[in-house]
Amino acid sequence: MTTATPAPVQVEPDREFRSRLIASGGEDLKKCFQCATCSVVCELSNERKPFPRKEMIWAQWGLKERLLPDVDVWLCHQCDDCSARCPRGARPGDVMAAVRREAIFHYSFPRWLGHWASRPRSLPLLLLIPCLLFGLMAWLSDSLEKVLGASHNANRIIFSYWSQLPQWLLIAFFIPFVVLDTVAMVLGVMRFWRDLRTCDHEVERTGPRQSLAASIRSAARSIILHEDFGRCTTERGRMNSHRLVLFGFAGLLAVDFWVLTLRVNPLLGNGFAYPFNFWSPWKILANLAGAAVLIGCYLMMRDRMARTDPTGTWFDWMFLGLTVAAVLTGFGCELLHYARVDPLRYATYIIHLATVFALLVLLPYSKFAHMIYRGTAMVYAAHTGRERRGGSREAE
């Protein structure tokens, strides 16, 4: 029985990358002395080559090429069990979050946009540009209508919230950005998937390998049920706030989809199509979903403020802040509409559209992108048999 002597490896630390991790939430990174308490207490970790211990030493050495394509970074849900039990206060949970942030920037396409959007000083511009665009559109909408020959639909009556920003103009404005976003996300996921393979030797695969379709099904199931969140103990409350925000966004997306199709939807007869009555099921869904997102965000903010330790980075707060701003201005538009406070109503509407625009454009470059990268990582883990602690779910 001979054991192969591992070949000596020359480590080339990336100090710049390490400083970035330290600057973006991993400030206690250097306190880690590799005791492995974190990996032992983690409910989500694996039996073989578990996280977050190995990520901690990689981060200390600034091993960018191992951390960025690491599937385990995304299997972590930041329960903070590790951070709570760490005898040195190195906060591995925060380091994992900082690595995820860097991974989002690294895989985003185009990369500069991710870095640009992550700076606090970009935010005013990010809101000002759409405000100006919407103002310009409102100002020019009559002439645009003549030039483009767009007409109000003759068969269905669709009122816009503001007649200067009719539905066709908003659709024509937003659809190109949705397409660009989708392209950027697909490219990001493709880069990430390609790189995941390069890190394969760092994670042992002992579980059963599943087909791609089965992996997608199991990942979707896990996300919908919040199975991983459900295993957290320290930050258990996060499960409920995350559920509210996720399902709230799903509801809002359903209503958006319906409103987008008003002109062509075969289920709608000719006649009055929009706005919805307050008691229309669509309006009720939109109001419930908006309230769910708002309550979820409030719970997240409350929990984050209650923490004695660092209270999150700009990256976390901007996403949360933009979401809250979008929902609050949305409800504001609704209330001002019922109260018929006219000039203020349109101003609120423009701010609402600007925050929605910012959220949408930042989707692949902000914390919003966690859904595509974590989703991809969960599918990849199931596909390649990266087994989780506690064995398969069915054994429970």
């Binding site: 009556i157 919908i224 399902f247 319906w258």
Partner: protein, 132 residues
């Protein structure tokens, strides 16, 4: 663990039902309408078919409120009375419940026009005559 799993399903199932209800409602309404009722125009067809509206119908659908407010301001601030009044609307669109109210009710709108003005021609004449 069994009970825990049932609890895990509770919220997603509830969210799914809430999200799918409007789709089911719309589909159900569509199926009902196409089976039991002929496709009718939403608004009553104006009775005086020879007479044309002051603007084309599509424009009126979206902007009638702005037109009426503009005319109101001209009348009360500058004293310029227009041919177009609620009364002249009612010459073709006779029934308020089949015309104004249908859209306003569907959209949960309560325009304040009718707080003072009566839509029906006879009564508005009577009120005008009482004026100075």
């Amino acid at each position: 663990m069994k009970q825990n799993r049932a609890r895990m399903w509770l919220l997603p199932a509830l969210a799914g039902i809430v999200i799918l209800t409007p789709f089911a409602y719309s589909a159900g309404r569509y199926a009902w309408a196409s089976r039991f009722a002929a496709q009718k125009p939403f608004l009553q067809v104006p009775s005086a078919s020879s007479q044309r509206c002051v603007r084309d119908p599509e424009w009126m659908r979206l902007n009638h409120m702005d037109l009426l407010e503009e005319l109101r301001d001209k009348t009360v601030r500058e004293g310029i009375r227009s041919e177009v009044t609620l009364r002249s609307c009612s010459q073709c669109h006779k029934d308020k419940t089949q015309f104004c109210d249908k859209c306003h009710q569907a959209a949960n709108l309560r325009p304040d026009c009718f707080d003072c003005h009566s839509y029906s021609a006879d009564r508005s004449v009577a009120r005008l005559e009482r004026g100075p």
